[in-house]
């Protein structure tokens, strides 16, 4: 029977005032094409506007030629909130009959032009689509009923970016493998090469990633809940061969030289939540971590989680340190060794348990002259309850100062660490700390240091050598809300004298602008011990140092009333020529004016009645004073006995920095000579 033929090509111009559902349009097209074209040689269809619940087309043009070419044009396609611009599907060889459509040598053209072909069997509900955007790249989709199979060969994942709604988009990479979505089953085996991803800020990004992902999920209808969505049980495995990921603030790189890092996980999806029942991470250089977690499928809200690890190599934890620390030249050589076992349990209320056992830890920053030798610790933090705490360190090192060995036992009580006693040998003395309490934001302690040789201490720290002994008593010291405070007076012994620091507060001690306020009183310090240590010239006698209202910013004084004055009482008072000369230099120009040069040249030492120097520091200017005021100045040394010497200063106001320079010059031995 001869094929029925339309008299002329049909053109339908329709403006839809209301939305049509997709199925309705599809039925219309199929009715037009299959019903009509099967008996016609050509068909043209043109619709001005077409829309569905979440899509619209400004103009649709369809032109079919039986046994020839076919063209479907869509202008202004908007789907799922995105504008797709104009799309054109052309088939150079197009055939159709009542049950099948065939497109050979076709092209899909939008921003790019993709060669494609497809075959659809409407009766058997099958579709076979092959898209080859470029040579060597193929996307193949085979649909049979509800069974979808996708085969990829060098598929560029960047093409998927416009389809994805998340903040992170793939920007490069090729994927080969298979993805299967069937009734009650989803599985995938994909190989990824040179992949990259990034978010708009670049703070979460990966580059040159290579690996393999396998995934398998099957659905299980819930018992007794026929109408409810089925649960899914799934397993996944990811092997990371090489590449780098920056996930602010972490940077993780796999150079590819060692075996792949592996993540294996299994779990289920149920009632809107994704449950990871068991996940194992094999990180080649770190060790093995295991864990579990669950989160909401839509909001990604985290529920409960656990992480455990045994024998983790601490060197890899350098990646967790702030990068600026590692970039700091003085910490760049940080050597970290040792192992850790950890267990973390948390929930919607935060961390419930964090157990950590460290062993054989050695930390050395050679350029910073800091180190920890053989640290072992065990603690088990729980949001409630009591657990023991153990700490042992062979030595803490600062320059050549070695503190240790240290042994401490305590307990974690309701999330707070208590250590009743901690003993640490320091050179020839003992540092004893007691009543140590630490939590996340505060700590407090008290303690004492028994007598330590200042000569040994300054030598170990590489400081200018000082004589005498140092010992101190720490009253209650606490830190909270960025402020460290000493309740009561800090007492210590220095140069055989008694020192007391009170009203001491240190704001922002670990921040950029530490600010110290305190009063300092040192009574009856032995001048001989002090001056012999700094090669100041010999002085015998005792002095008091009082500093009231001391304010230091960035560890430099900005305000204080300071005074050094000979102590009350009877004791030998002698001062050498060199010491007189140096005090004169500190007093500034003209300070030696009262010295009787010709007479003094014969004597090595002199007697004195008082030595005094004061500085009232305000706004970088020191208002100076001495042991006594004179009519025109202030007396730095008031002579007494035979022979005696007076040194008078005349310049009342001196810049703080200039005063420091004078003192430094004296210490360096560069002071100008007073005597000839």
């Amino acid at each position: 029977m001869a094929m029925q033929q339309f008299v002329a090509p049909v053109t339908w111009r329709t403006r839809f005032g209301q939305r049509l559902v997709r199925e309705g349009i599809a039925a219309l097209l199929i009715a037009c094409t299959c019903g009509a074209l099967a008996h016609a040689q050509s068909l043209q269809l043109e619709l001005e506007t077409l829309s569905g619940p979440d899509w619209s087309v400004r103009k649709l043009q369809l032109a079919l030629q039986q046994g020839g070419a076919a063209r479907l044009g869509l202008q202004g396609l908007v789907a799922q909130g995105r504008a797709w611009g104009d799309l054109t599907l052309e088939c150079k060889r197009f055939t159709m009959d009542r049950s099948a459509l065939n497109c050979a040598d076709g092209n899909l053209e939008g921003k790019e032009r993709w060669p494609l072909s497809f075959t659809a069997d409407l009766a058997r509900k099958t579709l076979s689509l092959r898209v080859a955007p470029e040579a060597g790249e193929e996307w193949r989709l085979d649909i049979t009923g509800v069974d979808w199979r996708i085969a990829l060969q060098n598929a560029s994942v960047a093409r998927l970016a416009p389809l994805l709604s998340g903040a992170i988009k793939p920007t490069a990479g090729r994927v080969s493998g298979n993805l299967h979505l069937g009734a009650g089953r989803v599985d995938a085996d994909l190989r990824i090469v040179d992949a990259a991803f990034a978010d708009a800020t670049g703070l979460r990004a990966g580059e040159k990633l290579q690996g393999r992902l396998t995934f398998d999920a099957t659905s299980h209808p819930r018992l007794g809940a026929a109408a409810a969505p089925a649960d899914w049980a799934w397993t996944a495995a990811l092997a990371w061969d090489k590449g780098a990921v920056f996930w602010d603030p972490l940077y993780l790189a796999h150079e590819g030289a060692e075996a792949p890092h592996r993540l294996d996980a299994r779990g289920r999806v149920t009632a809107g939540r994704v449950v990871v029942e068991q996940a194992n991470l094999e990180w080649q250089t770190l060790g093995r971590l295991s864990g579990s977690l669950d989160f909401g499928r839509d909001a990604f809200d985290l529920g409960s989680y656990t992480v455990t690890g045994k024998g983790l190599n601490l060197f890899e934890l350098r990646a967790l340190l702030p990068q600026t620390w590692l970039d700091d030249k003085r910490l760049g050589d940080l050597d970290l060794k040792g192992t850790a076992d950890l267990a973390l349990v948390g929930g919607i209320r935060g961390v419930e348990q964090f157990a950590l056992a460290l062993s054989g830890v050695r930390l050395h920053a050679a350029q910073r002259h800091l180190g920890i030798d053989n640290l072992a610790a065990r603690f088990d933090y729980r949001s409630s309850g009591r657990e023991p705490f153990l700490l042992s360190i062979d030595a803490l090192r600062l320059q050549d100062l070695r503190i240790g060995p240290i042994r401490a036992e305590g307990e974690l009580r309701d999330g707070r660490l208590y250590i009743p006693n901690l003993i640490a040998p320091v050179l020839d003395g003992i540092l004893a700390l007691a009543e140590i309490e630490v939590d996340r934001e505060s700590f407090s302690l008290q303690g004492a240091l028994t007598s330590v040789s200042m000569e040994k201490l300054t030598a170990a720290l590489g400081w200018h050598p000082l004589g005498g002994q140092l010992s101190f008593v720490l009253p209650h010291v606490s830190y909270a809300r960025s402020t460290m405070a000493v309740d009561g007076a800090l007492l210590f012994k220095l140069f055989d004298g008694d020192a007391q620091v009170d009203a001491m507060r240190l704001e922002n001690p670990f921040g950029r602008t530490p600010r110290l306020t305190a009063n300092l009183h040192l009574k009856r310090m032995n001048l001989e011990a002090m001056t012999s240590a700094v090669k100041f010239g010999t002085m015998t006698g005792l002095v008091d140092l009082d500093v009231d209202g001391l304010v230091m910013e960035n560890w430099q004084p900005v305000s204080m009333d300071a005074r050094v004055l000979t102590s009350e009482g009877a004791f030998a008072k002698r001062i050498s020529q060199r010491a007189v000369q140096n005090i004169s230099s500190i007093g500034g120009a003209g300070a030696g004016a009262a010295i009787q040069r010709s007479f003094l040249g014969f004597f090595e030492t002199f007697g004195y009645d008082k030595i005094g120097l004061s500085c009232k520091l305000r706004n970088g200017i020191c208002e100076m004073g001495g042991a006594e005021d004179t009519a025109s100045g202030f007396m730095l040394i008031k002579g007494g006995g035979l022979p005696s010497v007076n040194v008078v200063g005349y310049n009342r106001f001196v810049g703080w920095q200039e005063l420091l320079d004078r003192i430094q010059a004296v210490i360096d031995g560069n002071s100008r000579p007073v005597f000839q």
Partner: protein
């Protein structure tokens, strides 16, 4: 009378108060912050030039486009920005405190924001009042 009222209003305005502030005041804390910032500037300059970072309108430095920084360096640049912005925030606070007027901190920050923008080199990105990045 009107003139007197005008003078009074002007004297009470924050602008007049700020005009009295010594922005060049030096204290050990301020000197320490300035030295730290000066030492960091050479490291930041290359990233200003690439457009990775820009001078924000609030007196801070912002990451505009981390993608302009090679991946291995991104954490370091982020760390530099964190340190720089912490120093800047501390600087505004310390200058206000050194002037004896902690309540001027916000105005001092705004003034510095304008200074940073004016001193920016050609090619650097500066955030305008509308929050848009403009290449200088």
């Amino acid at each position: 009378m009107k003139k007197l009222l005008f003078v009074l209003l002007l004297a009470l305005s924050p602008l007049a108060a700020l005009a009295q502030a010594n922005l060049e005041i030096n204290t050990p804390a301020i000197n320490g912050l300035k030295q730290a910032m000066a030492g960091r500037h050479a490291q930041l300059a290359a990233h200003y030039g690439s457009g990775a970072i820009g001078i924000a309108r609030d007196g801070s430095v912002s990451l505009r486009d981390a993608n302009a920084v090679p991946l291995p360096q991104r954490a370091a640049v982020n760390g530099l920005l964190g340190a720089e912005n912490a120093d800047r925030a501390a600087l505004y606070k310390e200058i206000a405190r050194a002037n004896g007027k902690p309540e001027w901190e916000a105005e001092i920050r705004n003034t510095f924001a304008q200074r940073w923008a004016e001193k920016a080199s050609p090619g650097w990105y500066v955030q305008n009042a509308q929050g848009q990045w403009v290449k200088k």
